[in-house]
C-alpha cells in the first residue's frame, strides 16, 4: 500500500497537534525550567515541520502520485485475507489463549495459516502439531515461561 506523502504529512500534523495539546496537561516540575512535557513537545514540533514539508511535497507531486495506491497484491483476494489473518490471528490469541490454552490456540493458529499458504491439510496438521509441541516444550520446559494451559489444565504435564 503506497500513500501520497501529503497524506502522511497531514496525519503527522494532526498527530503532533494532539501530542502538543495533550502534553499541556503534564504537571510542571517545581524549581526546574524543564518538565516532562519538554521532550514530547519538541518531538511533536519536529514532526509537524516534517509533516508540513511532506504535505507540500505530496501536493506538488499530486499529478503523478495518487493519494493512495494499493499494490498489485491487493487485487489478489487470497493474499489480502492471509495478510489480514496475521493481525486477526494475533488478536484472537490475546483474547482466547487464557481460556483455550496455548496448545489448542497455537494449533488452530498454525493450521489456519498453513492452509492459507496452500499446504495440504494432512501435512498442515502434522506440521502444526509438531511445531506447537516443540515451541511449547522449549518455552515451558526449558525457559520456564508460564504459557497458559487453559482447557488442558487437568492433563497438564
Amino acid at each position: 500500500m503506497r500513500v501520497n506523502d501529503a497524506v502522511f504529512g497531514i496525519i503527522l500534523l494532526l498527530f503532533s497537534l494532539a501530542v502538543i495539546l495533550y502534553s499541556q496537561s503534564f504537571p510542571a516540575t517545581h524549581g526546574q525550567s524543564y518538565g516532562p512535557d519538554l521532550f514530547p513537545v519538541l518531538i511533536a514540533l519536529g514532526l509537524s515541520l516534517c509533516g508540513l514539508a511532506l504535505t507540500l511535497r505530496g501536493w506538488m507531486s499530486r499529478a503523478s502520485v495518487p493519494w493512495i495506491e494499493f499494490g498489485a497484491w491487493a487485487q489478489d483476494r487470497g493474499k489480502v485475507i492471509t495478510f489480514a489473518l496475521v493481525p486477526v490471528g494475533l488478536i484472537s490469541y490475546v483474547l482466547v489463549a487464557d481460556f483455550l490454552g496455548f496448545i489448542p490456540t497455537a494449533l488452530l493458529f498454525l493450521f489456519v495459516l498453513l492452509r492459507r499458504f496452500a499446504v495440504a491439510p494432512a501435512k498442515a496438521l502434522v506440521i502444526a502439531f509438531t511445531a506447537t509441541l516443540v515451541i511449547h516444550t522449549i518455552f515451558v520446559r526449558f525457559l520456564l515461561v508460564p504459557l497458559p494451559w487453559g482447557l488442558l489444565q487437568p492433563v497438564a504435564w
Binding site: Q32, P36, F39, I43, L90, A106, A128
Partner: protein, 509 residues
C-alpha cells in the same frame, strides 16, 4: 586506571578469566546451536540477520550474559555470510548485506565458477570478521578510557550525533528519515518520565507505565513486518540448481594473494562504516563494492562475474557487523539495528553499556571479544558445511516457515513479561514498520530513537539540573564544547551550503 592498563594492554588474569568464561561446554554448545540457526536463517531469502537476532532474544533472555551475547555474535556472523549462498546460486541475496554483489556472484555461477565465488565469499567473510573483531578489541578499551571522563553533557551530545548520523546515512529522503527518528523518540517518551515520575501517554493503562517493552517492539518491527512483507510479495518457488558443489577452496590461494590489498581495504572500510551509527553491513558492502570498482585496474570486468568486487564487499559486510559494536559497547550508541537490539539485551543483563563496564566487569567484555574471534574462526568450517548443505536448505518451502516464525514471535513477545500485552505491542509496531517501509520511511532511525530516546532525555535533564537550567552549560566543558560544535555543524552546515548553492544557481539563471 583500574584493570584496563594504559595502552590497551589487558592484565593477563582478566584475559584468562575471559577465556575460561567462553571455553565452557555450555557456551560452546550455545554458540554451535546459534551458528546453525544463523546459517539457516541467512541462507533463506527473505529472512534477515536482524530478524534472526530478534527471534533469538527471547531465548537469550534466559541465559547468562556471556552465552547470551556469544549466541548473538555467532548467529549474526553466520547469517551475514550465509546470505551470500542464495545470492550466488539463485541471484537472490539471503540478507540485504549480500545484495551489493549478488549479481556479480551469480554471473560467476553462470560462468561455471560457483565454487570459486562461494569459496571467496567464505574466506573473505572470515578475514573481514577477524579484522573487525581485532579493531573492536583494540579500539573499544582505548575509547572507553577516554570516555570515562564523559559526563551527562558529553553523553547528550553523543546521543545527538548518533541520531543525526542515523538520519543522514539512512537511504532515501532525509525528511522521511527524520520522521522515522522522531517517531522512535516519541515511542521512547511513553511511560513514567524519569525526572518528574509522571506517566506520559499511558491513558491509564498500567502496562504502558513501564514504557513500550523493547523486545516485543523489536520482534514486531523486524520479524512480524518481514512476515507481512512476505505475504504481500510475489513469492515464487525457488529454482534450486541441480549440480552439486565441488571443492570451494580450490584455486583460492592465488585469488587471495592477488587481492590482498582489497581484503585489507574491505575490512577497514567495513569496520569504519559499521562504527557509524545507523549504517550497518549492507551499506558497508555497497560502499566497498563501489570503491573496489573505482580503484580496480580492470573496472570493465565488474558485473561480468569478476571476483575482485566480491573480495572487497564480502570482507566489508562481516567487518561492518563487528565495527557496529564499538560505539554500542563504549557509549551505548548502536552502530546498526542489530547492535540496537544488543544494547537492549545488555541492559536486561545488568551489563549496562558504557565505559564503566570496562572497569567493573572487564572479564565479561573481554569474554565477548573472545567470542567474536571464536565465532569468526568457526565460520570457516561451519560455513563450508552450509555451502555443502545449501541445496537441501533452499528446498525447504518458505510457506511452511512463515506461520512457525509468527508463532515463535508471539511466544517470544509474551515470554519477556509473561503478559499478552507484549503481543499487542509487537503487532502494532509490526504493522507500523510494514507501512513505513512500504512508503520509504527507513526503520533503523526509529529503532535508534527508541533505544537512545531515554538516554537523550535523561542526560539532558540531569545536565540541566547540574547547570541550573542554563543551556550554555552544554558548552562549558572542553569535550562537550567540541562535540556540541560538531553536532551543530552537522545540523546546520548542509542546509546552509544548499541555500548558498541554490542562491548562486538562481542568480546565474
Amino acid at each position: 586506571m583500574g584493570p584496563v592498563a594504559a595502552g590497551g594492554l589487558v592484565a593477563m588474569d582478566i584475559l584468562l578469566t575471559a577465556f575460561s568464561l567462553v571455553f565452557t561446554p555450555y557456551v560452546l554448545l550455545v554458540m554451535l546451536g546459534a551458528a546453525i540457526f544463523g546459517l539457516f536463517v541467512g541462507s533463506i531469502p527473505g529472512l534477515t540477520a536482524t530478524m534472526a537476532t530478534a527471534l533469538l532474544i527471547p531465548i537469550t533472555f534466559f541465559m547468562d550474559p556471556v552465552p547470551a551475547i556469544a549466541a548473538i555474535v555467532t548467529t549474526v556472523a553466520m547469517a551475514i555470510f550465509a546470505g551470500d549462498i542464495p545470492g550466488c546460486l539463485l541471484r537472490i541475496p539471503g540478507t540485504p548485506a549480500s545484495a551489493a554483489y549478488a549479481d556479480e556472484a551469480y554471473a560467476m555461477t553462470a560462468k561455471g565458477q560457483a565454487e570459486k565465488a562461494l569459496g571467496t565469499s567464505l574466506v573473505c567473510a572470515v578475514i573481514g570478521g577477524l579484522i573487525g573483531s581485532l579493531v573492536l578489541a583494540t579500539t573499544a578499551p582505548l575509547l572507553a578510557e577516554f570516555a570515562i571522563q564523559f559526563s551527562s553533557f558529553e553523553y547528550f551530545w553523543l546521543a545527538c550525533l548518533g541520531l543525526s548520523c542515523a538520519v543522514m546515512i539512512s537511504s532515501g529522503s532525509m525528511i522521511k528519515g527524520l520522521v522515522s527518528l522522531l517517531l522512535g523518540l516519541f515511542i521512547s517518551t511513553i511511560g513514567i518520565d524519569i525526572t518528574a515520575g509522571y506517566p506520559r501517554f499511558t491513558f491509564g493503562n498500567v502496562e504502558l507505565m513501564g514504557g513500550i517493552s523493547f523486545i516485543p517492539a523489536m520482534i514486531g518491527m523486524f520479524a512480524v513486518s518481514e512476515v507481512l512483507r512476505y505475504i504481500a510479495s510475489n513469492h515464487e518457488k525457488l529454482a534450486v540448481p541441480q549440480q552439486s558443489i565441488g571443492n570451494v577452496f580450490r584455486g583460492l590461494g592465488p585469488v587471495l594473494g592477488r587481492y590482498k590489498i582489497n581484503l585489507l581495504r574491505g575490512g577497514v572500510i567495513g569496520t569504519a562504516i559499521g562504527i557509524l551509527p545507523g549504517a550497518g553491513a549492507d551499506i558497508a558492502a555497497w560502499v566497498a563494492y563501489a570503491l573496489s570498482k573505482k580503484f580496480s585496474r580492470e573496472p570493465e570486468k565488474f558485473g561480468t562475474g569478476h571476483v575482485e568486487g566480491l573480495v572487497d564487499s564480502g570482507c566489508a559486510n562481516n567487518a561492518g557487523l563487528n565495527g557496529a559494536w564499538v560505539p554500542a559497547i563504549v557509549f551505548g550508541i548502536p552502530g546498526d539495528s542489530i547492535t540496537a537490539i544488543v544494547i537492549g539485551v545488555l541492559y536486561m543483563k545488568g551489563m549496562n553499556p558504557g565505559p564503566t563496564v570496562f572497569l567493573n566487569q572487564p572479564e565479561l567484555i573481554y569474554a565477548v571479544f573472545v567470542a567474536f574471534f571464536v565465532a569468526n574462526l568457526a565460520l570457516l568450517p561451519l560455513g563450508f558445511m552450509a555451502i555443502k548443505l545449501a541445496r537441501q536448505v533452499l528446498r525447504i518451502p518458505q510457506p511452511v516457515l512463515m506461520p512457525m516464525i509468527l508463532l515463535f514471535c508471539l511466544v517470544g513477545a509474551f515470554a519477556i513479561n509473561n503478559t499478552v500485552f507484549g503481543i499487542t505491542v509487537m503487532l502494532v509496531l509490526g504493522l507500523l514498520a510494514y507501512v513505513m517501509e512500504e512508503n520509504g520511511f527507513p526503520i533503523a532511525p526509529t529503532i535508534l530513537g527508541i533505544v537512545l530516546g531515554t538516554m537523550l532525555e535523561d542526560n539532558f535533564m540531569s545536565s540541566m539540573i547540574k547547570a541550573d537550567g542554563d543551556l550554555l552549560g552544554f558548552f562549558s566543558r572542553p569535550i562537550a564544547l567540541v562535540l556540541g560544535v560538531v553536532t551543530l555543524t552537522v545540523w546546520f552546515l548542509p542546509p546552509v551550503i544548499r541555500a548558498v548553492r541554490a542562491g548562486r544557481s538562481g542568480n546565474g539563471g
